[in-house]
Amino acid sequence: MRLIYFFLLIIFISFGCDPKNGEFAPEDDFELSAPAYFGSFNERIPEDNPMTTKGFELGRMLFYEKKLSGDNSMSCASCHQQSNAFTDGKAFSPGIDGQVGQVSTMSLVNLLWAEHFTWNGKMQSVEDQSTEPIRNPIEMHENFDNAIRKLEDAGYNRLFQEAFETDQITEELIGKALAQFQRALISSNSKYDQYLRGEYNPTPSEKRGEQLFFTHPIPGQLRGGNCGDCHLGPLTSGAIDEFQGFHNNGLDHDENMDEGLMAVTGNSTDKGRFKTSSLRNIALTAPYMHDGRFRTLEEVIDHYDNGIHQSSTLDILIIEGSNENQASGERPQLFLSEQEKEDILAFLHMLTDEEFISNSKFSNPFENENN
């Protein structure tokens, strides 16, 4: 008996000094792993929606669940197809009524290192972004009363109980489960990652492409492709904080450009600014830009090299980025050689992650049910 008290006391003593020891991780802890060079992420998971295995599994089912659409014909995965890095190969995607939207389906990847979702930054969280297409009349066009009733009929209550400790299905919980699934969509096993880990030896062209991608050109001193000024670091996505990751990349001039971020902020200096997307798996996500105007990566590189349109909101990182000295007010060009363009293209192909697009954890759970 005495020994028991003694041990109890030892336990209290050892926990007394370091407050960290007092905190216990939740029992059902979903393991997310990502390379250190992506940056920290645990604090980016919302406190009111921690990752759990049951939540992830439910989210995966809902992601592929056609009952969430008005006529049970579409799911999130209709436009976000895993084999295309969660895009659909179209400039604009038709919804259940055959109507098309005005922007291209965005790839879903490494969303933990992003805020302000969709091309104009309208959505504050993955949770908000996840339920919008369900409601949207030109997308899945369903109201949540119907959707929830269909999920109840299909026996989803038990899965919500397991994931969220309530069998009441709500729009909010549908969003949370979908967000958990999407936060787990981490792509970090491309050739580029393998190279960063020292497991892959890049070709000379790939190596040159990496250098060009991340180098801001300085005429006479440094040749650069100027990509990494906006597509930051190994994530190759835009800055996370506020709207720093939204840029006008010279697609149009003032008269014909789309609103972009201005639709959200109301600020005219934000006109034509769009979310800088991740370039992870970019070789699989054609067509490119918010309106899918470029069919190939060659066209995209040509745009940055010699297709920039000047405007009052053109990003200064593009204005100040050329391999040759340009006169004030001259249309910015990169002056890349054909070889340099090929090298950048080779680097972009390094970002394809075969494991990500074939990972069975992210695939359709209904596939064997004639769905």
Partner: protein
């Protein structure tokens, strides 16, 4: 009775178990006030540099690292994992709290503008070093020490960029501030305030004329900005 007895034996262990805590510590708050000359700094506001260019910024971030405090006897206390990213978030201010500072009399504070001792982004995330925070260059090049993104209108009326992305070891600049008299850091919290003066990045000793040069990234000219912020850019307010 047995319980009480065993408790009695354990009492000394309980008291000494947390010996680390016996040394008294306090918190030191470092406040950084972003200025442009005498004016409080604001994003988007137009300022004039020494060369007469009118310019504004949309982003201004500064890394400081390796904060050390010098005690009155000359001994140095090094803040662990000391990498701090400073930016005007609370109006033009930024405040960071250093905890577990030994309660003592100090005569100076020193730190670097820039990131000490890192060569690439492969390592663990320490302090405010985080490859996803818009201050990293690429895998091998490490972090930008100072980042300013802005623009100015040139003589011909064209929009031009003011792009200041400074890194590289040569631009790691030590800052030493001796207190006018020793300061006793004790109690709950103590505070030191610093000004960060934007205009000092473009003057003293090198007056930077944006008409000539407004893009400072990894080029030789970036070192001119480094030499400018080496002195006078950070000022201790006493």
């Amino acid at each position: 009775m047995k319980i009480i007895k065993s408790l009695f034996y354990l009492l000394p262990f309980i008291f000494f178990a947390c010996q680390d805590d016996i040394e008294e510590t306090t918190t030191l708050e470092l406040e950084f006030i972003h200025k442009a000359g005498n004016e409080d700094f604001e994003y988007g506001k137009i300022y004039q540099n020494n060369a007469g260019n009118e310019f504004s910024l949309r982003l201004w971030r500064t890394y400081i690292s390796d904060v050390k405090l010098m005690k009155s006897d000359g001994e140095l206390y090094a803040v662990p994992d000391s990498y701090h990213l400073i930016e005007p978030v609370d109006g033009n201010k930024f405040s960071l709290k250093l905890n577990q500072i030994p309660s003592e009399k100090y005569k100076a504070i020193q730190f670097y503008v820039g990131v000490v001792g890192e060569e690439n982004l492969s390592g663990e995330i320490v302090g405010d070093l985080d490859p996803s925070n818009n201050m990293a260059w690429n895998w091998t090049t490490g972090y930008k020490f100072i980042r300013m993104d802005g623009e100015f209108q040139d003589e011909l009326g064209n929009r031009r960029g003011v792009v200041v992305h400074i890194g590289k070891e040569i631009n790691l600049k030590p800052q030493v501030f001796n207190f006018q008299q020793d300061i006793n850091f004790s109690g709950q919290i103590n505070k030191l305030s610093f000004d960060l003066d934007l205009l000092e990045a473009f003057q003293n000793p090198h007056t930077i004329d944006f008409e000539v040069l407004s893009d400072f990234q990894f080029n030789d000219e970036a070192n001119l900005i480094g030499e400018n912020y080496a002195e006078g850019f950070v000022k201790l307010i006493e």
